[in-house]
Amino acid sequence: MEAGKLMSMKEAVAKHVRDGDTAYLSGFTHMIPFAAGHEIIRQRRKDLVLARATPDIIYDQMIAAGCARKIIFSYAGNPGVGSLRCFRRAHEKGVPAPLEIEEYTHFGLSGRLFAGATNMPFLPMRTNLGSDLPPMNPLMKTVVDPYTGDTTSVVPPLRPDVAVVHVQKADVNGNSHIWGIIGEQKDAAFAAKRVIFSAEEIVDESVIRSDPNRTLVPDFLVHAVVHEPWCSHPSYVQGYYDRDNEFYVEWDKITKEHEATLGYLEEWVFGVADRREYMEKLPAGTMERLKPTPALSVPVDYGSV
């Protein structure tokens, strides 16, 4: 698993994402791995179970493209904008195909992933009781707290077949530094059986080793490393680019009809070979427009004895 982890997104998806997989493309409305989602669509994966707290636009696209048979989620919205129309069309009307749902609260789903990452037998949590969610989901159970006798809600671990995590910096083996809203990235990587990391920059191992407290996941958990600048466009990456917000608003209009949605996928997903072509296709000046002003962290001293 050590040698030759560095590969293209095309190779990584070909090798590690399989029909029928439970896939967790991580990101709590930040660092969404759009490039990975598009490649999964291009390779026409099907029957996927798409898991993520916040499905975001990329899962909407994958659903519209017919990749998914089921979604495990806690908030299916277009973040800051409104509905995910393709998710709704599939679930409400079976277009392009019926979509099964398995639903939690944010705490419940991030808890399932944490329990999967740490291999807990089950996770007790102070939520769910009184809500109509548990009756709809047989995986949400209760146990009696042996200290108080109270009924306690529990969820089971979630172990995706494959996770995709986008980060700012990684070395060729998959040691990586992530900062900003780090959502469920660490737990996704620890919970999944196969793990694809993509990075804005591939850096020398010494950069990672200069600050080991910032490494969320060491390399031995990582199966593929992809150098994929602008992977998350139109989402944001802390320190690298801002959200292309117009697209998030535009998506609401594009997806009013399934046909128009397919037209978008035809042009922007199937119509390009990879992320580089996608970026080249965007209006001139997009990258410059989205670049933030630098704001460096103050270094810390690890010392050497």
Binding site: A53, E92, E103, H106, L129, I182, Q238, R243
Partner: protein, 253 residues
């Protein structure tokens, strides 16, 4: 009284409910405006914790989503998603949470999941997100919602986030650590919840609003507080501070 939109009115009334030194769990949008407004005016030490794990943020703009880098640059602290819900929310460290939803009933139960049947939805809504977790764990829940008949219902189609469920007795049985619903702020009035029964009760009518208007838009027989108040009108200071927070009117249309 300055001329304000009904959203502006609700945000201003909500901001007044926040006390200095409290911790507030904030999402994006209207609750974010209410918390920021309170902080600018009477609650400078209001602690804002974002659902995405950021604490002590100094955003330079209205965040586009809960994961917006503007919530992190210059913040005091940020943690992972599970950590946010576990250390802060389940940790019992949040005083106030804001919720909204498609439907609410007299006990403050909220539906943000589905209109119609869960298995065969008429309209599928985004779902709980953190709402049920917030409802279960914060000391005071404040709901901001337009006062419309389709939103105030006898029985929610789906109970996403528990209010007092079937009343305060049932809430106690569930042993949730939160304090339950505290206020519902609409464009017509402010509801509080009866200490004994847990039923939504009109505590204050906004200026110029009559109880008849409230009754017309609430399908059940609405309880009214013995000491019914009139909401003090928004001040110039409140309105100008609020508008400065959302100069492009993204949320305040």
């Amino acid at each position: 009284m300055p001329d304000v939109s009904s959203t502006e009115l609700m945000v201003i009334v909500a901001a007044r409910e926040l006390k200095d030194g409290e911790s507030v769990l904030v999402g994006v949008g209207v609750p974010n405006l209410a918390a920021n407004l309170a902080k600018r005016l009477h609650a400078p030490r209001l602690l804002m914790v974002y659902e995405s794990g950021a604490v002590g943020s100094n955003p330079t703009r209205m965040p586009l989503s809960i994961g917006d880098p503007c919530l992190v640059s210059g913040a005091k602290s940020v943690c992972s998603m599970y950590e946010q819900f576990a250390y802060y929310l389940q940790g019992g460290r949040i005083d106030v949470g804001f919720l909204g939803g498609a439907q609410i009933d007299r006990y403050g139960n909220i539906n943000s999941t589905v209109i119609g049947d869960y298995a065969k939805p008429k309209v599928r809504l985004p779902g709980s997100g953190g709402a049920c977790d917030i409802a279960s764990n914060v000391k005071r829940i404040i709901v901001i919602t337009p006062h419309q008949k389709r939103r105030f219902v006898e029985k929610v189609d789906f109970l996403t986030s528990p209010g007092f469920v079937e009343g305060r007795e049932r809430w106690k049985e569930l042993k949730l650590q939160g304090g339950g619903p505290y206020a519902v702020i609409t464009n017509l009035c402010t509801f509080k919840f009866d200490d004994r029964t847990g039923e939504m009760t009109v505590a204050a009518l906004h200026e110029g609003v009559t109880m008849d208007q409230v009754r017309e838009n609430t399908p059940w027989e609405v309880k009214v507080a013995d000491d019914l108040q009139t909401t003090p009108p928004p001040t110039d200071e409140e309105v100008s501070a609020l508008r400065a927070l959302d100069p492009d009117g993204i949320y305040l249309r």
